[in-house]
Symmetry: C2
Subunit: 329 residues, 2 copies
């Protein structure tokens, strides 16, 4: 039995951790956004991959949502004294990940192999797959024009109004080795789209040529978990950018965004009033759940709700699943 | 008034620090060995330049002779967990120097400009000059064949027998910007060869085409300070490799090594018995001094002895100096 999950950073990593703990070891395969990757101080940084690695290995900093717990900051202090760029905070232990990844990439190893090895060394009993070994870079258009994602997201703290998102280099990318095998595998039982930002964390994954088709063609239920609770994101700019993109910042809007891709939608119980409309409008089965993940139990509760919804949808035939997903969007 | 000094790591940096403190600000110009430079973990590391930067800014670790005081080691621990190479110890704060230098080199800045800027930012009132912006790499031949210097020096802790030393790439190098200006400058009053390893720290400097000639042509006294005390190095493999290269590990042998280049030699008082032979054999003026540098006062004492010897030698005419240095070696 295998379960595939698509995720970005913080929220997605939390559900991935819940799935890892409620599923038998080696069951979970994670397809992680790399659209946020960037080069900084000469280092290749993969923020979402790192957040997933740290979260699943118990090393994550629970306060920040990025970086490692019990981190020290000597590097940043010394870098500042040397006039270096300090807007992207790199902890001393965290640096090892970036230095080692950069060195291995420079030596010709693909990101997928480096990520798998890092996960193994950190004792993670899940398959970690970057969405692609290629170079897809999320860029956003603000009033100042197109800027790199991390410039907008970290340096400018998402303050500028976001008008448009694009995924540079997507056309030259293909799913990383292991992604198609996971999604086409006979043992696959469910696909979960984690409660990550649909536009900035999940869309880059879907922008990798072939990846959306692999998800749609999988003969198993695809279940998305709402990243919004009562119209607000737990963390991050999801609601803000939905408003700026002219969308309602609602779970219904997220479900519509995934229309044609998903079969089920896990909705926070605080948004129960939207359940019927989501079911009708996005054409999906809806499961209510307290989706706020503050502790390990929370993560596992949301993981179980997602897997149970998928299990119920498995009673539908594969043909019925595919037919639902081929509805015009 | 200017004073130029040639130095490598630990011992050289200590005397450089002494010179910095006994001379007026902006007087001292240091020409630093970069033959030990290497690429490690994708980073450009300049061990001697760093030791000088840290020593002159008061950041050096007095116990190790390399790296920074009050250093933390989170990076190394995390790197080890990821399977990275840990034989070359990189402290968390120290890393900032390597990351920043590597990034700036990659952006096209020469090592000399980066070094000058780093020295300025660390508040060092001396001119720090890498010997060259080119790529000269010290390599040593052991029973296992030719190996990189840091492999021999750090990874193998100088254990193998050293048979031969060469300076790869020397022919393609030239003195860094500022070196010729310093050595040809009207204001120059003395040149000090610091008590660094003559074969591994000073010879690479002299191997940069034009540099030995610049030293010999300078119309000011050149004074070397013995790196040996009673036939032993204070730190490092100087005595060991002298023996392995078939030389006597004595101050006399060091003075002979510099014959034709120096006018004066500062000899440790424990080696007073060699003074007459050094004066006769190497043809230089000898000054006795306690050269062991354990505290700031020690450093300043050796600095003063070197400068006083040079001042006395300045009474010789420039022509007399040049004539002495043109003696066949």
């Amino acid at each position: 039995m295998r379960v595939a999950a698509v995720c970005g950073g913080v929220g997605g990593a939390k559900l991935a951790d819940g799935l890892l703990h409620v599923l038998p070891a080696q069951t979970l395969g994670l397809i992680v956004n790399t659209g946020d990757d960037f080069e900084h101080l000469g280092l290749h940084i993969s923020p979402d991959v790192d957040t997933v690695l740290y979260t699943l290995s118990g090393l994550a900093n629970p306060a920040t949502g990025w970086g490692r717990r019990d981190e020290s900051w000597s590097f940043m202090a010394a870098l500042q004294a040397l006039g270096g760029e300090t807007w992207f905070r790199l902890g001393d232990a965290d640096l090892a990940m970036h230095v080692q990844r950069t060195r291995r990439l420079a030596a010709g190893e693909p990101l997928s192999a480096i990520t798998a090895d890092s996960a193994r060394r950190l004792g993670i009993a899940a398959q970690l797959l970057p969405m692609t070994d290629g170079r897809l870079r999320t860029r956003v258009r603000t009033d100042a024009g197109w800027v790199d994602f991390q410039d907008y997201f970290v340096r400018q703290q998402c303050r500028p109004t976001l008008h448009e998102i694009r995924f540079d280099g997507a056309a030259m990318c293909e799913p990383a080795p292991g992604v198609a095998e996971l999604l086409r595998g006979e043992a696959l039982e469910a696909i979960v789209i984690c409660p990550s930002n649909p536009y900035l964390s999940v869309d880059p994954v879907l922008a990798v040529p072939g990846l959306r088709q692999l998800l749609r063609a999988a003969g198993v239920p695809v279940v998305a978990v709402s990243p919004l609770i009562a119209g607000a994101a737990v963390k991050g700019p999801t609601a803000k950018i939905m408003a700026e993109l002219g969308k309602a910042s609602s779970a219904l809007e997220v479900a519509r965004h995934y229309r044609g891709l998903i079969d089920g939608f896990v909705l926070d119980e605080r948004d129960a009033a939207q359940a019927a409309e989501i079911a009708a409008d996005a054409g999906v089965a809806v499961r209510l759940c307290d989706t706020l993940m503050q502790c390990d139990d929370d993560r596992q509760r949301v993981a179980r709700a997602s897997l149970q919804l998928a299990a119920e949808l498995r009673n539908d035939s594969a043909a019925a699943l595919r037919a639902r997903r081929s509805r015009p969007t």
